[in-house]
């Protein structure tokens, strides 16, 4: 496990619509002994809008944060948000591009010094800690909770850039949630697009695409969806009402950040996990979890094995 | 006649008959255009190549030497290219000792079916040699002049 702290990049939505993701991520990392240190005075990575306007602009906006991390002497960076992750990783790659790199450097007025390593918090938890070590720390297994893992379109692609898990059928979140005692259902649409930032300019995109995801999840008999992306969560959770209306359906599927679920399994107080911030009422799902009894460590390990 | 002044460099290729010479033929059959600098000497196997050939060529005024054989494990003579690999690598390491820029010598593996790869190899190596200053011609070599005076 990382003994020196990771430079933490919360991403803008962590201050707003996905504050529960940020909060639960910090709580879980603390409980698991993964020290995080915020990148000082971090700024927006530019997200999708920036790279659709210009690659040098997007690179400059993202690279600023890598340079900010350098100021505290850290080059191992973790972020919960896949969109930020992709932008930071792309910025590193494009910085080497003979055309974009110098243009970005001109815009930024600063230079990128180190070879950074940027990972998602999911990747850090999966690779540095691993499901087995997690299982050993679980005090309240999520037994009885049927959950579908939804990774979103950016977490694993493109393969060469993201360099993590299977591009079409990732399993890292599955394994972590299984280690937390949940029943993880095989979900074929793990990396399908939810409509992304089209929710505002073209609402139909979200009602259509998120609709497919929620519909399949419901038809599989899931109690909840676990996600790792703020935008996915917003589309599936906050906009679930819009989706239901457009598709004449009722799903009532709570959409948790996977970190919230891990936090529950680790026995962290619900307050620290921001469960009250969710839009679709999570209570029915939480009730299922509360029914389960705390288990001794040995038994927890056995559960994991079965699940694996 | 001579190497076209200013246009070409003197590049000598040693190619094994079974793979790389065939690969160069395949490139020709496919009309994959290449720089004209390279002159190819055919040998049965890359294992036939004595590093002395390479050094002799470079000392005699060749601007570059390119050796190409079958891919390792795919040698027509079972293991000739394994020996070649060892010798050629050693040769590359030794070149600075005789005052030759090691960039003037490369070895690679191209199979008889890899016409496009051969085109790439030739194009890249020729460009690499054009980056370097022209080698001293045989007659211009100061060492030789020195030798002649001594002799």
């Amino acid at each position: 496990m990382a003994s020196s702290p990771l430079a933490y990049y919360p991403g803008c939505s962590g201050l707003g619509t996905s504050m529960e993701y940020d909060r639960s991520t910090r709580a879980v990392c603390e409980a698991l002994g993964i020290p995080l240190k915020d990148i000082p005075d971090w700024s927006c990575c530019g997200s999708t809008p920036a790279h659709t306007v210009d690659h040098a602009l997007s690179t400059a906006l993202s690279a600023r944060n890598l340079i900010q991390a350098e100021t505290i002497g850290l080059s191992d960076i973790a972020t919960p948000c896949p969109s930020c992750l992709k932008n930071l990783k792309t910025a590193m790659a494009r910085w080497q591009d003979p055309k974009i790199g110098p243009a970005a450097e001109k815009l930024l007025g600063k230079s990128l010094q180190e070879r950074h390593r940027v990972r998602s918090v999911l990747q850090v938890l999966y690779e540095e800690l691993g499901p087995e070590a997690l299982a050993a720390k679980v005090s309240r297994p999520l037994a009885g909770l049927k959950v579908v893992p939804y990774y979103g379109c950016l977490m694993t692609r493109p393969k060469d850039l993201m360099d993590f898990d299977d591009e079409e059928y990732p399993v890292s979140m599955d394994r972590l949630l299984e280690a937390a005692g949940a029943e993880v259902l095989p979900f074929p649409l793990k990396v399908e697009c939810c409509g992304a930032s089209m929710g505002i300019p073209l609402n139909k995109a979200v009602t259509r695409l998120s609709g497919k995801i929620l519909e399949l999840a419901a038809s599989l008999g899931a109690d909840a969806v676990a996600v790792a992306c703020p935008l996915c969560q917003m589309n599936l959770d906050l906009r679930q009402g819009q989706v239901e209306k457009a598709n004449h359906a009722i799903y009532k599927l709570p959409v948790f950040y996977y970190t919230q679920l891990l936090g529950l399994a680790l026995g962290l107080p619900e307050r620290d996990l921001g469960l009250s911030k969710l839009n679709v009422n999570p209570e029915p799902a939480l009730a299922l979890i509360r029914q389960s009894r705390p288990k001794p460590a040995a038994e927890t390990a056995a559960t994991t094995e079965d699940a694996a | 006649m001579s190497v076209l002044e200013g246009k070409e460099r003197r590049i000598i290729g040693f190619l094994c008959n079974w793979c790389s010479y065939g690969g160069a033929d395949t490139a020709g059959v496919g009309r994959f255009s290449q720089p004209t600098d390279l002159r190819i000497i055919r040998v049965p196997c890359s294992g036939r190549i004595n590093p002395l050939f390479i050094i002799k060529a470079l000392l005699s005024g060749a601007d570059g030497v390119l050796v190409s054989g079958c891919h390792p494990r795919d040698c027509h003579y079972a293991e000739g290219n394994f020996y070649a690999r060892r010798r050629l690598e050693m040769c590359k390491q030794l070149l600075p000792a005789v005052g030759i820029d090691p960039l003037r010598f490369e070895y690679t593996w191209v199979s008889a079916s890899e016409g496009q790869r051969w085109q790439q190899v030739v194009t890249d190596f020729t460009a690499q040699i054009h980056q370097l200053p022209p080698a001293l011609r045989f007659s211009e070599s100061p060492d030789l002049e020195l030798l002649r005076q001594c002799g």
């Binding site: 299977d166 | 006649m1 020709g28 002159r39 049965p44 294992g47 079972a78």
Partner: protein
């Protein structure tokens, strides 16, 4: 030496970008060149006659031909000079076509380069000495590796012509992929009906020795005199005693063994005979599933076997065979489509490969010829076929077209309608490649008579929804996204080189391409030969091929073998290593590096010396480059000759 130089125009192939006449003129100034000319087609009848006449007129004793690659026409010109009474090894070629005229358009640079290549050839020729081939006796037997339809054809053709044939097959039965097929395109005739009799012929032919469940372990020697070691794998059944009665397979309690012959569609027993028409019809125990081996107690088959053929303690055996020629007919394997994550990577039971589907269609297959979904055994009504899975896809390292998938998919679509009249097939394709006799008409029939809906586009995603599979693709001709809810998806998996083909190629000293397919001697003119004398190719081991092409190649390879072995003696290539005894210090380095054990130690007046075994030396020259004394020299590629070439290039 009196040298003549002949510079070819090759029509416009050379003359378009090389001034052949100028090259010929420049060559007149080269040392010892007494005659030089340019000709339109040097390899043609008048061209060769021109060489012969020039030799006689100008008393030439060496010839340089500047034309195409020596890999193409060196033998032609060697025969030509021999007809004029000059030793055939007194010819050198300058490759001014493949290496000059075809790869550059700058005529000045090309002409200059061609002239230098001629100078190089002249300098080398000046050091050539006449060489005389030795003759040796050839073994009139042939080894056929692989018992698929191509190998079977080669074996039967050779055996009929009187050669002794040794056939080695990796599986426990011959028949290869064709034996697994239900019907064959474009005639829709029954595969086992046309292959079966040929398989029986192999078993019964007095000239054919069959090693099934065996692999080639090692090959040594050379054309005419190969020494082959064959490893007989453990079957735990004494095939001398086994009658193929099948009692053991009926009683075997382990009934969940992986069925290799049926591609995993339906299980088999741990002791099994792959299929009723198997040749040889002998039982084999799969140790991975046999209870005797997994639990230590069982032995039912041993008890029941009426001839006592079961032998759990059986050991591997090695057999030796001497042959004069080898035919590789090792076929192909199906691409493992699990590389496609978007098609479920094997997670969805109702997404199957084309060969699995073929087994389902087959009346002797695991479903008795009924199409059933693996998940629930139901008959599918909507079947989606996806072509180019593992073909024409650079992203998974398979950029080539497998050739036959378009046709077998059309056949499977037709058979689907035959089996389930109220079914609807959809075929996702990129291009329909049907260039054979009656092939395109066949694919049209699939559409017109059998109502298969062809959709031009790839499929991006398959996912299960309820008990259906949602297939999400494009119809590029409609320019729109399409979706089909299918009951069964059949992936037309492409062909790739047979498992461990490269390993066999290394044993045979033949080349293989990037994908593991064996490389033929010439892509057009030597399709079944290899660059290793005495080793030939047949069928899909050279590249994906359908049945007619494989059979044609099988016969072609047989013809080549028969041609080679029709003589009692063969000539050896005299371009081999020679030892200069005075220089040899007997260090033995050459003996150690020789890959063919062609050099031995000998005693010369009490001194240790190296001696080349002429019949064994292959002429690689490894010893030449190794010898610290320059005592061992490869004829026609001596140190002096290579250095003369280097000097010719550096001097000009």
């Amino acid at each position: 030496m009196r040298i003549g130089v002949f510079v070819c125009h090759c029509g416009s192939n050379i003359a378009a970008t090389v001034d052949s006449a100028a090259v010929a003129a420049a060559a007149r100034d080269f040392d010892e060149v007494v005659f030089s000319t340019d000709t339109m087609y040097t390899c043609s009848e008048p061209g060769q006659t021109g060489i012969i006449e020039a030799i006689k007129t100008h008393a030439l004793d060496g010839v340089v031909v500047a034309a195409c690659s020596p890999r193409m026409h060196e033998p032609t010109f060697r025969r030509a000079v021999e007809r004029a009474g000059v030793n055939r090894y007194m010819v050198e070629m300058a490759n001014i076509r493949e290496h000059v005229s075809w790869i550059g358009k700058d005529k000045e640079a090309n002409t200059n380069k061609a002239t230098e290549l001629v100078r190089m050839a002249v300098e080398k020729l000046r050091l050539n000495r006449p060489l005389f081939p030795k003759t040796f006796k050839a073994t009139r037997r042939v080894l056929v590796i692989g018992g698929g339809v191509a190998g079977i054809q080669t074996a039967l053709d050779c055996a009929e012509a009187g050669l002794e044939v040794v056939m080695v097959e990796r599986e426990s039965t011959i028949g290869g992929k064709m034996a697994k097929l239900d019907k064959t395109f474009p005639t829709v005739d029954c595969s086992s009906c046309i292959l079966g009799p040929k398989m029986v012929d192999v078993a019964q032919h007095p000239n054919i020795t069959l090693y099934a469940s065996a692999e080639v372990e090692a090959v040594s020697g050379f054309v005419g005199n190969f020494e082959v070691t064959i490893r007989k794998k453990v079957t735990c059944v004494d095939w001398e005693k086994c009658t193929g009665c099948g009692l053991c397979t009926e009683k075997c309690p382990s009934k969940k063994a992986y069925n290799r012959f049926d591609e995993g569609v339906g299980p088999t027993t741990a002791i099994n005979i792959p299929f009723p028409q198997a040749i040889p019809k002998k039982a084999v125990i799969d140790k991975e599933f046999c209870r005797y081996f997994t639990t230590g107690k069982c032995g039912v088959c041993a008890k029941i076997c009426p001839t006592g053929a079961i032998n759990y303690e059986q050991q591997e055996e090695l057999a030796q065979e001497k042959v004069g020629a080898i035919v590789a007919a090792t076929g192909y394997d199906l691409f493992d489509w699990r590389a496609y994550g978007e098609y479920g990577a094997g997670r969805y039971p109702d997404v199957i490969s084309s060969l699995q589907y073929e087994r389902m269609l087959s009346a002797s297959g695991p479903t008795g010829g009924h199409i059933k979904r693996p998940s629930d055994g139901k008959e599918p009504k909507t079947v989606v076929f996806i072509q180019c899975v593992g073909s024409r896809d650079a992203s998974i390292g398979r950029p080539y077209c497998s050739g036959f998938c378009c046709m077998y998919t059309a056949k499977q679509a037709i058979l689907t309608k035959d089996h389930i009249p109220d079914s609807q097939s959809y075929v996702f394709y990129m291009d329909i490649r049907a260039p054979g006799k009656a092939y395109d008409e066949f694919t049209r029939r699939a559409m017109e008579e059998y109502g298969a809906q062809y959709v031009r586009g790839r499929v991006a995603l398959i996912y299960p929804k309820g008990d259906k599979l949602v297939v999400r693709g494009t119809d590029t001709l409609m320019s729109s996204q399409v979706e089909v809810e299918a009951d069964l998806v059949v992936l037309a998996a492409g062909a790739e080189a047979a498992r461990n083909a490269s390993g066999l190629a290394e044993k045979l000293h033949i080349s293989y391409d990037t994908y593991g397919f064996f490389v033929e001697g010439h892509p057009k003119l030597r399709p079944v030969e290899t660059n290793t004398a005495g080793v030939f190719l047949a069928g899909a081991c050279q590249g994906p091929k359908d049945i007619p092409s494989s059979v044609a190649q099988g016969s072609a390879a047989a013809a080549k073998v028969l041609g080679l072995l029709s003589k009692d003696v063969l000539e050896s290539d005299p371009q081999i290593a020679q030892v200069t005894l005075q220089r040899c210090i007997g260090c033995g380095k050459c003996i150690r590096v020789c890959p063919f054990q062609a050099i031995r130690e000998t005693d010369f007046r009490g001194q240790r010396k190296a001696e080349v075994i002429e019949a064994v030396c292959q002429g690689c020259g490894l010893c030449n480059a190794t010898c610290p004394q320059g005592a061992i020299q490869l004829s026609h590629f001596t140190d002096n000759q290579v250095l003369a070439e280097v000097e010719a290039l550096c001097r000009c």
